[in-house]
């Protein structure tokens, strides 16, 4: 199947058992899904575990997908469900990380991408974001990350998290305000 095939065409091929189609879909969403999960969880280990789980779930549930729904919504809906399971398992929302811990982690053990290119400023920015995102209530953080990482529109965000559009809009507005204040405080 050609590289410019639509998500839906690839998903239909994958439903028929085409592993190549899955590889193309995976290449399209690997980065955004990964960042969404890692940033939503607040740590790479949990995020990566969920990341793997989401893709396997997509493979298992591919028969349930229907072409009238966009694949992106379907994929992030699975991710949302897995996140809820994760929260239930961990019994508490891992939302908050001490700023000192984040800064220390960012400075002493930056990720490979950060180590390669980033200056100290970039590392500090990343740490500030990590802190501020972690400080958000999970539903607000999820709304913001879905919007920014996956590029979903508000109605789709609402669909993924299973709330009314007004509620999704409200969550996003709260998230933006809190993040702005938090990041200003970090400078």
């Amino acid at each position: 199947m050609s590289g410019d095939a639509t998500d839906e065409a690839l998903m239909l091929a994958f439903q028929g058992g085409d592993a190549r189609a899955f590889e193309q879909l995976y290449a399209r969403y690997r980065g955004t899904l990964y960042r969404f999960l890692v940033r939503q969880c607040g740590n790479a280990a949990d995020g990566e575990e969920l990341y793997q789980d989401v893709w396997v779930t997509l493979a298992r549930q591919r028969e349930r997908w229907e072409p009238r729904a966009t694949l992106k919504t379907f994929l992030y809906r699975i991710a949302h469900t897995r996140l809820l399971d994760h929260y239930r398992r961990s019994r508490r929302h891992r939302g908050f990380l001490e700023l000192a811990e984040v800064e220390e982690a960012a400075l002493e053990d930056p990720s490979p991408a950060v180590r390669a290119e980033a200056s100290w400023e970039q590392a500090a920015l990343q740490a500030a974001w990590q802190h501020c995102l972690a400080a958000l209530p999970p539903p607000q953080r999820e709304a913001f990350l879905l919007r920014e990482e996956s590029g979903l529109e508000l109605p789709q965000v609402a669909q993924v998290v299973g709330v009314a559009i007004e509620a999704a809009k409200s969550r996003l507005r709260y998230a933006v305000n809190k993040l702005r204040l938090c990041l200003e405080g970090q400078r």
Partner: protein, 247 residues
């Protein structure tokens, strides 16, 4: 620029982390394993259907054909053994009469004899041909003739006889018992009355002919009547020597 746009711009400055090659490989391997397992499961299901359906169909056909082939044999075997039992039972009339006599003599006896073996012939009531060997079906216990005959006939006859038919059968049995030594004219009178009663009621099994009673000879010699009272009797010196139902 709105606050939101500024925030988004700032967010875009974050490094775009991506899954490691190791994680990519793990995911792809897990999904491939999932696909493989499904394929295997589907193939197993197809294999199962491929053999089980024809096998079940063939077994059903064999069973059906075997039953069809076996059925006439069983019937034949039953028919072949029938004379043996009927020798002991004399005839259907005798059986019916016997039942009545038995029920008259022992009124307290429950109407349904649970220990009675299944009745002989009517083909519908035949025991399953494959299971029951013919000898068991046809050969009764070596008991005195009337009793087993009555027991054998009773379940099937009881269901069909109404009160009037029972009474006629009882009268017939009585006449047969009392006939030896009876004056021939008296015997004929009672026999004609029985004929009339049978015609009037239609008979226990619908055997009425719609005909008037035939002539009843009282002279010495052997005489007989047609159905429904298929009777044979012998007169000697104006007295009935013996009377019996003809088969």
């Amino acid at each position: 620029m709105s606050d939101y746009d500024a925030l988004r711009q700032l967010y875009r400055q974050l490094p775009a982390e991506e899954p490691s090659a190791n994680l990519d490989a793990k995911v792809l391997a897990a999904v491939n394993a999932e696909l493989e397992a499904e394929r295997e499961q589907r193939a197993r299901r197809q294999r199962r259907w491929r053999y089980q359906v024809p096998l079940a169909t063939a077994a059903t056909l064999v069973l059906a054909v075997a039953l069809l082939l076996r059925l006439p044999d069983s019937r034949q075997e039953l028919l072949e053994h029938q004379p043996d039992t009927s020798q002991e039972m004399s005839s259907a009339y005798e059986s019916r009469a016997g039942i009545v006599a038995d029920s008259v003599n022992a009124p307290a006896r429950p109407p349904v004899m649970q220990s009675a073996p299944p009745p002989p012939p009517p083909p519908v009531a035949m025991p399953p041909p494959v299971i029951a060997p013919p000898a068991m079906v046809a050969a009764p216990a070596p008991a005195p003739a009337p009793a087993p005959a009555m027991e054998l006939a009773m379940p099937s006859v009881m269901g069909f006889m109404d009160d009037r038919a029972l009474k006629q059968a009882s009268n017939l049995e009585k006449l047969l018992k009392e006939a030896p030594g009876m004056a021939a004219p008296e015997f004929c009178t009672r026999l004609r009355a029985l004929w009339a009663a049978t015609e009037a009621t239609g008979g226990a099994n619908g055997e009425a002919t719609g005909e008037a009673a035939p002539e009843c000879p009282t002279t010495d010699g052997n005489h007989q009547w047609p159905a429904p009272l298929s009777m044979a009797w012998q007169v000697n010196a104006g007295l009935v020597q013996k009377a019996e139902l003809r088969r």
